[in-house]
């Protein structure tokens, strides 16, 4: 017979049941101290910087705010950022799904290495990420310089370089959300569908996708937030040409360095708003995923 350690401990314990309860209850002063330290730290290091962004953005009033975010350079920056995301996000999404499918549903040699390599862009400094594309595509010094000059193609200090750098830094987001999720779900449901005569695509759309939709959505919003906000890598390849190769974060930097603080914070507040929306969607997705999990547990309870 197996006795669980807690029951055994209780059996030989010198404490009465009431004393044990008291020994486990939270001590008020410890709770106050821990909560005070934790929430104080949270307020100073996380909350205040967020509040300051909006306070500075609206310091000169709504009209100045509106003027700052609707002037042509700011609009061009917003447009370039959106275009970049529109290219980078779908590419990384397709990659993420493909990678998760082969890693989660099949066994092969070197799988662990592949998973590690997919995570690699996360541990590379953004500045190094920008540099690698300069080394490859710089019109004067890059590997492909002669070819780029012959065809008069500009990648570095132009939009294609920005897109490439963004794809690099947001590369792992979708894949790393999907891989553990699809691994946990196993492949019985898909196998059943195939055996019953479903096509590969049908199986993916009808079985796999509904099972992982929340994780997928989470990966997409994280990827989107990073793609819109990337600074270091994009800064290296952009060349900072106003109205042409400035994304929103770069526009923030330029305005700030020109001492147009209110305008800088106005553009920054758009990015901060995006961050808040991202966090809200994330919380909602986690709540949905937990609900789905509870629902499945209920189903199992009812089953004989």
């Amino acid at each position: 017979m197996k006795i669980n350690p807690a029951a055994r401990a209780r059996a030989i314990s010198s404490l009465a049941p009431g004393e044990l309860k008291r020994a486990l209850a939270a001590v008020p002063w410890i709770k106050c101290l821990v909560l005070g330290l934790a929430l104080g730290f949270f307020a100073v290091f996380l909350l205040l910087p967020l509040i300051v962004v909006f306070a500075e953005a609206f310091r000169k009033g709504l009209d100045a705010y509106w003027a700052a975010i609707s002037e042509p350079d700011a609009r061009a920056a917003v447009w370039l950022t959106l275009t970049t995301v529109a290219i980078a996000l779908p590419l990384n999404l397709v990659f993420g799904v493909a990678a998760a499918w082969c890693i989660a549903k099949f066994e092969f040699r070197g799988k662990q290495l592949l998973v590690t390599l997919i995570d690699l862009p996360f541990s590379v400094s953004p500045v190094v990420a920008g540099l690698v594309f300069v080394l490859l595509f710089s019109t004067q010094h890059g590997w492909f310089a002669p070819w780029l000059q012959a065809w008069d193609i500009k990648i570095i200090f132009a939009a294609p370089g920005i897109v490439l750098a963004t794809i690099f830094v947001t590369f792992p987001f979708v894949a790393r959300e999907l891989i553990p999720l699809m691994q946990a779900q196993g492949r019985e449901e898909e196998e059943a569908a195939i055996v019953l005569g479903a096509r590969g695509w049908q199986t993916f759309w009808r079985i796999t996708l509904p099972n992982v939709k929340w994780g997928l959505l989470y990966g997409i919003i994280l990827c989107n937030a990073r793609a819109m906000g990337e600074f270091g890598a994009v800064s290296v390849v952009s060349g900072h040409i106003r109205g042409q190769t400035n994304t929103m974060p770069l526009q923030v930097e330029i305005l700030y360095n020109e001492y147009s603080f209110s305008a800088a914070f106005a553009v920054a507040s758009l990015l901060a708003l995006l961050a808040l929306v991202t966090l809200a969607v994330k919380s909602w997705v986690e709540w949905k995923a937990r609900q789905a999990l509870d629902f499945n547990d209920d189903k199992q309870d009812i089953a004989p």
């Binding site: 314990s13 486990l24 710089s138 600074f231 990015l271 966090l279």
Partner: protein
């Protein structure tokens, strides 16, 4: 049936092939370019670039402050994770959601917000400088009272707490970006902890501190170390949130990624590549360490659940 279970799912060659090609084109080949370019240098030339005094000073700033920030985050990240899992307080859901803010907030926004906050006229910078000045004045007066020299007293009176445009500012930015790594690695472990462990310890007469030190901390340690390593890895390479607040004074507050930017601005591509190669090697080592730590964490979780 003795035959091995055959995988009937389709699409393996296609998805694996696509994954490998895309990974090579976007990540592996570009990163290889750094090492191939760095190989143009002789070993002596390479060493001269990466061990130049100003570059070495930047390593000290980047590594030292990243270690310190990760250590501070380990302590406060554990406290925050503990509060979120064990205590009930108003606004808990909001705090839980906002812990991820550094992941979602663009680094340039973080940079200008922290700089404004800690500058001499900022919400936190102003009171900190006033506090620093009064501490300085008090120390100086005390020194004179005890018969110290006037020069030292004058030097003490200069004492101040400046955060923006000093290494302290860099530390603040690195703490900001590293915090969620610790909270999010420790939190799930705390949630999954079997309450019977603490019951057992308490009924055997352990005091709270003993229970924490000898029962909980060993279980949390792998996750804490993983969070520390993740926060450190992120901090070492961080650029956007740091450059605004750093002040970027040579030998004092220049970080290593900034050295790469300087070399690039001077079109010294080879020099930039040499420093980048050093940073990449460090990234690979850290990635390895983090993988080992994560394997340890998941083994420890399985044990804790049993």
């Amino acid at each position: 049936m003795t035959r091995r279970h055959k995988n009937v799912l389709p699409g393996f060659p296609l998805t694996l092939g696509y994954t490998l090609v895309y990974l090579s084109l976007i990540v592996l080949i570009p990163l290889a370019a750094v090492f191939i370019k760095a190989a143009d240098l002789s070993l002596a030339e390479f060493w001269a670039i990466v061990s130049a005094p100003r570059v070495v000073a930047s390593y000290k700033v980047s590594f030292g402050l990243s270690l310190l920030a990760a250590a501070i985050n380990s302590v406060f990240g554990l406290l925050l994770a503990w509060s979120l899992v064990r205590y009930r307080f108003p606004g808990k859901k909001l705090v839980d959601a906002l812990v991820d803010l550094p992941f979602a907030l663009p680094t340039a926004v973080t940079g200008i917000a922290l700089t404004t906050l800690y500058a001499g006229n900022g919400w936190l910078g102003k009171p900190l400088e006033a506090l620093g000045a009064s501490i300085g004045a008090a120390l100086s007066a005390l020194w004179l009272d005890f018969g110290g020299s006037a020069e030292t007293a004058a030097a003490l009176a200069e004492f101040n707490i400046k955060v923006a445009y000093t290494p302290l500012g860099i530390l603040t930015a690195l703490i900001f970006i590293g915090l969620p790594f610790v909270v999010r690695t420790v939190q799930p472990i705390l949630e999954d902890l079997d309450p019977e462990l603490e019951e057992a310890a308490a009924s055997l007469g352990a005091r709270r501190w003993q229970t924490f030190r000898y029962v909980l901390l060993p279980i949390l340690l792998p996750a804490l170390l993983t969070g520390f390593a993740l926060a450190f890895a992120r901090a070492v390479g961080e650029y956007g949130s740091v450059i605004f607040i750093a002040g970027n004074m040579p030998f004092i507050s220049e970080i290593t990624p900034l050295m790469i930017i300087f070399k690039l601005d001077e079109f010294d591509y080879v020099g930039a590549t040499a420093i980048a190669a050093v940073m990449l090697l460090l990234s690979f080592v850290l990635l390895l360490v983090i993988n080992v730590l994560q394997a340890w964490t998941s083994r420890r979780i399985r044990k804790g659940r049993r």
